[in-house]
């Protein structure tokens, strides 16, 4: 008895130690077939992970398996394939539930991604808002998080107000508190900024909004690949995720909504799957989550989303975060050594994203040269024009790192930037 007990303890300890050591990135890279390809005759260095992450073989296999073995429409068939597909799809919902620690699985709505999820909520709020109500949006939002609220404000006469940010790219929390009032009905903020990588203090944002009775939607698109959010603990009203940024396929994501909210929000789209009974006089809506899942969903995508979560959890979010932090620190240090290079977004708390410019050079020029060198980065305003306006720049070069990137790739990036600089200046 005693011996087993000791064994168990040491086994646990062993596991913890494993966590503390860095990832075996070379083994992980073998999971991603795309990382072997060449671009412009050079090995691909993929540093545009914040736009879309790459897909591991384990997830690709699930997609192939779906179309090879059990492709069928779900929730309506009596036959075996339909049942299998339905089971797998609902299993994926359970995986999402477990991953994000969500109280009830029907609080998860499968969407085509974050943009769809946000529009669903914005549309629903049309019926709750009136003239003079206020919606607060952070200054570092993605366009998909601004436009739906502008449209909502136009429809309802509500007013959109902006939570300002500092030059470091951190939200001004004092200003936020001042903006909150009994007129505030909704607060929208991303968990992590796509352009700057800032991790926002969302717990504080949520708690403060709740004190005055406002609802909060957190856009988790950029956070989900790096941070395992505990939605129960956060007590957030809505949270959105896109699978394609976390090793899953494009065209699928989730909206989490508290049951009370999802019950009160009107449906977004009409169609099959979302109804209970239809006559020409009246339709009664199906229960959650189906009320918001009109039409045939991205079945394969949903299942693959679940597989992507399995994949990432097997590696472990803690070890990924630790490794990505090492990459971020290393890249920040190396890039900062380049004369004239300025990094935008220097928040204390940030994910592995570096937005930068070199004095006197347009980001587009740097991106073009890097592309010739096989290095994929993003250039431009990153769908966050207000941030660029804030810094008075046309855009930035953004390198975003994932757990499958390496220090050698950071070195290649740094060399590439230096080469671009000498060509362009």
């Amino acid at each position: 008895m005693f011996a087993t007990h000791v064994n168990r303890i040491s086994y646990k300890k062993f596991n913890l130690d494993m966590l503390r050591t860095s990832l075996d990135v070379q083994t992980i890279r073998k999971d991603f077939p795309i990382l072997d390809r060449k671009v412009n005759g050079r090995p691909l260095v993929y540093l545009d992970n914040a736009a879309t992450s790459q897909t591991p073989q384990q997830v690709i296999d699930v997609i192939v398996d779906y179309y090879s073995n059990y492709n069928a429409n779900i929730h309506r068939g009596v036959h075996a394939l339909s049942q299998e597909a339905t089971d797998k799809y609902e299993e994926a919902r359970k995986k999402i539930q477990e991953h994000f620690n969500i109280a009830k699985s029907h609080e998860i709505i499968f969407t085509s991604g974050t943009t769809h999820a946000i529009n669903l909520v914005a549309n629903g709020f049309s019926s709750f808002l009136k003239q003079g109500d206020e919606i607060l949006v952070s200054a570092m939002e993605h366009h998909s998080n601004i436009v739906p609220w502008q449209m909502l404000a136009e429809r309802t006469g509500a007013i959109l107000k902006v939570i300002p940010m500092s030059l470091d790219g951190e939200l001004e929390m004092d200003a936020y508190e001042e903006l909150l009032s009994d007129k505030t009905k909704l607060v929208f903020c991303n968990h992590v900024s796509n352009a700057l990588g800032t991790i926002n203090p969302i717990q504080e944002i949520i708690d403060k909004a709740h004190e005055i009775g406002a609802a909060v939607l957190i856009d988790g698109a950029q956070a989900a690949p790096h941070i395992k959010a505990d939605l129960k603990a956060l007590n957030v009203d809505f949270y959105t995720v896109s699978a394609h940024k976390m090793c899953g396929p494009t065209g699928v994501g989730m909206l989490y909504g508290k049951e009370e909210w999802l019950n009160t929000l009107p449906p977004y789209q009409g169609g099959g799957e979302m109804i209970a009974e239809v006559t020409f006089e009246k339709t009664t809506y199906a229960d959650l989550p189906h009320k918001f899942e009109a039409g045939t969903p991205n079945i394969c995508g949903g299942i693959a989303f679940g597989a992507a979560l399995d994949y990432m959890n097997a590696i472990g979010f803690e070890s990924m975060a630790k490794y990505e932090k090492e990459l971020l620190d290393y890249a920040t240090k190396r890039l900062s050594e380049i004369d004239g290079l300025k990094i935008y977004g220097t928040a204390k708390n940030k994910t592995s994203v570096i937005s930068f410019n070199i004095e006197g050079i347009h980001p587009y020029d740097i991106g073009t040269i890097l592309d010739k060198l096989g290095i994929a980065v993003r250039t431009g305003h990153h769908c966050a024009q207000p941030i660029m306006d804030f810094y008075k720049i046309p855009g930035t070069v953004r390198a975003s790192f994932s757990f499958y990137n390496t220090k050698e790739e950071v070195d290649i990036l740094v060399e590439g930037v230096q080469r671009a600089k000498s060509m362009l200046l």
Partner: protein
């Protein structure tokens, strides 16, 4: 020189280079020689849409020929527009309308010809031709 002759000349110049770096370096050099647009024409109206960088183009008729000036805030884009303008400027509008731009492919800048590429080369060509069409109508 006709547009075709100029384009051949450009192709010749680029054929001296055997790697992309030299081609880009040369294009950047050409960008520096771009006949610059008068600041007063750098208006929102003269910005070519569809480019990630800003590109302004202005056209003026001198006798029966069209003269282009331009600028961009990105140097590679400036190089591309310089190459285009060199082949189109000081030409009759009708010749510009009829000209093709396959030489871009021949000088190894094919990747910039994709309509989905954010540099908007395709939009630039369209805009230069639009100017030609507008002035051609004026001449008729």
């Amino acid at each position: 020189m006709t547009i075709e002759e100029i384009q051949e000349e450009i192709v010749d110049e680029f054929s001296m280079f055997d790697d992309w770096m030299q081609r880009y370096e040369y294009m950047i050099e050409l960008g520096k020689s771009l006949p610059l647009i008068n600041e007063k024409y750098k208006t929102e109206d003269n910005i070519i849409k569809g480019c990630q960088s800003k590109v302004w183009v202005h056209a003026e008729l001198e006798d029966d020929k069209l003269v282009f000036t331009a600028d961009s805030d990105a140097i590679i884009t400036k190089g591309i527009i310089a190459i285009l303008i060199r082949s189109f400027s000081n030409q009759r509008p009708q010749d510009i309308i009829n000209a093709d731009t396959d030489f871009i492919d021949e000088i190894g800048l094919k990747e910039h010809l994709s309509p989905t590429r954010a540099n908007g080369l395709v939009s630039m060509i369209k805009q230069l031709k639009l100017y030609a069409v507008a002035y051609q109508t004026q001449l008729n």
